[in-house]
Symmetry: C3
Subunit: 131 residues, 3 copies
């Protein structure tokens, strides 16, 4: 198990952690299995999406902002209810197959921390299972 | 593998099952690994979110109700199409890292069964992998 | 680890892959554990939902289309930004417990590839962990 320490720089952000996840898998010396990338925060999540055009990340954040606006009469008084809802919609983890010691991501896939209430210092936990 | 038996009391509800999940992990005697918390139902799901302020759960259910209203001209005739859609948006499982025999949840994280078509008797399956 | 090769026939589709997943689990000879069903594409995903009434799949696709319309002023210029957003909302994988060599799906559950930018040839990776 390895912990990644990540600083986000704006309120909402997709932060590419593909390289860090691949390094954690390599360090585990597991050749075949799965990696679980887990976010121990309730206003951020983990997703896998396109790593080529940064506009995909912008469109994703804008669409979620339209669906779950920042101020929509929420009861939770900390002003980040939208971030909690988005965290559940995106999910708290991604599970990725491992082959020959490498994450079996598709050609266009990257692993992202999805920040919805930054900027903050975040931790991501990578657990590698297999042999 | 352990089965939790849970009764929900209203149509829509977030039910905190963190303690039950921690007990299933302890019973497995796995010190390092992951726990998969799985919902074998199609109108309920599993999510991880804030365990401190119950308004977070209320805001989540209200936001999903606004996005996916109960009656929106669905074809499925059982009157619970919204529940099926919400189940897919939330997801059928959560995977949680385990360290020293404990779920590695963040300070503010709890594990929730998300009921969208209750009240019902629900089963949750906890599978623990590791050593 | 096994690769399923699947052809989708329309732009948006839920394709039932339950039988193929069960066969991959059987072939692995793992009796107790979990199966990770992973989609290595960024405009498709994996979900678990009802396998009885095909209207559930239609309602799911229509609801996502209403929430994330095809043309909504996205920046990504390939005309499939909606598909990327839907892929993140649905998720890139499902993790299913295994008991006695069978996927422990609920009575009404099926495993689906969710196509959002077809028709295409898609690959699904099934990784089985356990003993």
């Amino acid at each position: 198990m390895q912990r990644l320490h990540i600083s986000t720089s704006t309120r909402e952000q997709l932060l590419d952690i593909t390289r860090e996840v691949a390094e954690a898998i390599a360090a585990s010396e597991v050749a075949e299995g799965v990696a679980v990338v887990y976010c121990p925060h309730t206003t951020a999540g983990i997703t896998i999406n396109e790593n080529a055009d940064p506009d995909v990340a912008r469109d994703l954040l804008e669409t979620l902002r339209r669906l779950v606006p920042c101020d929509s009469g929420y009861r939770h008084c900390e002003g980040n209810s939208d971030a909690h809802v988005k965290a559940t919609m995106v999910g708290s983890s991604a599970t990725i197959p491992i082959e020959n010691g490498h994450p079996l991501l598709g050609t266009w896939q990257g692993v992202y921390l999805t920040e919805f209430d930054g900027p903050r210092n975040r931790t991501v936990i990578v657990t590698v299972m297999g042999s």
